[in-house]
Amino acid sequence: MAMDPDALAKAFVQHYYTTFDTSREQLAALYQEGSMLTFEGQQVLGSQNIVHKLTTLPFQQCQHSITTVDCQPSGPAGGWLVFVSGNLQLSGEAHALKFSQMFHLIPTQQGSFYVLNDIFRLNYA
């Protein structure tokens, strides 16, 4: 069953950032034990630690708005690389932060995807 990669990437990105912006702890479902996050240079391993990192970031509320989404198949195992750029608005801040992020998605047996690799960087002017 071949899915249009761009549609897949857009669906994932929408789901990811909506979850991030509304109920961050539910991101746990998207990571597994072997998942890796590098967040502004800090390396975090495993779903539990990743969710802890993301739910203890120094802001209560945020809104991601996505500017670009690029997607490519990563190899014979059916993985996808998704490369995102966008803006992150924190409540109370006058200016949105710009960011880039990449995800490596791996298919699960249930027909969905989990995030194996996640790298996030703010883009300073």
């Binding site: 240079g41 390396q43 490519q72 690389l81 710009k98 960087r121 883009n123």
Partner: protein, 125 residues
């Protein structure tokens, strides 16, 4: 395994942008017929077409200055994802362009790596 990914990522980034800035045509050796490049949203497949795209970019000279390099192992078979941010200086241009780029490196013969996936985006201010 993470430390090795970091080492490979740094060595690759040094090599890649050095070649890009001094001998762009020789980048073709880093790609294979199955390699994919998405350059500012344009999708290109295979070493020949990728090399052609990079050689025909609308500038003779350029200099990449790298700000951040983040790497993670992408698979049990030795793949590595590398996420780069930096600036691109074009001669005659007053301001540098900021960019983000991700590479998915696959091990080849004798400790070398080739680029299976390459996604490039400029980061507009």
């Amino acid at each position: 395994m993470e430390e090795q990914a970091e080492m490979v990522g740094r060595a690759f980034v040094d090599h890649y942008y050095h070649l890009f800035d001094s001998n762009r045509a020789s980048l073709s050796a880093l790609y294979q017929p199955t390699s994919m490049l998405t350059f500012e949203g344009q999708k290109i497949l295979g070493a020949d077409d990728i090399s052609s795209k990079l050689n025909n970019l609308p500038f003779e000279q350029c200099k990449h200055i790298i700000s951040t390099i983040d790497s993670q192992p992408s698979s049990p078979t030795g793949g590595i994802v590398v996420f780069v941010s930096g600036s691109l200086q074009l001669p005659g241009e007053e301001h540098m362009l900021r960019f983000s780029q991700m590479f998915h490196l696959i091990p080849g013969a004798e400790g070398t790596f080739f680029v299976q996936n390459d996604i490039f985006r400029l980061n507009y201010g």
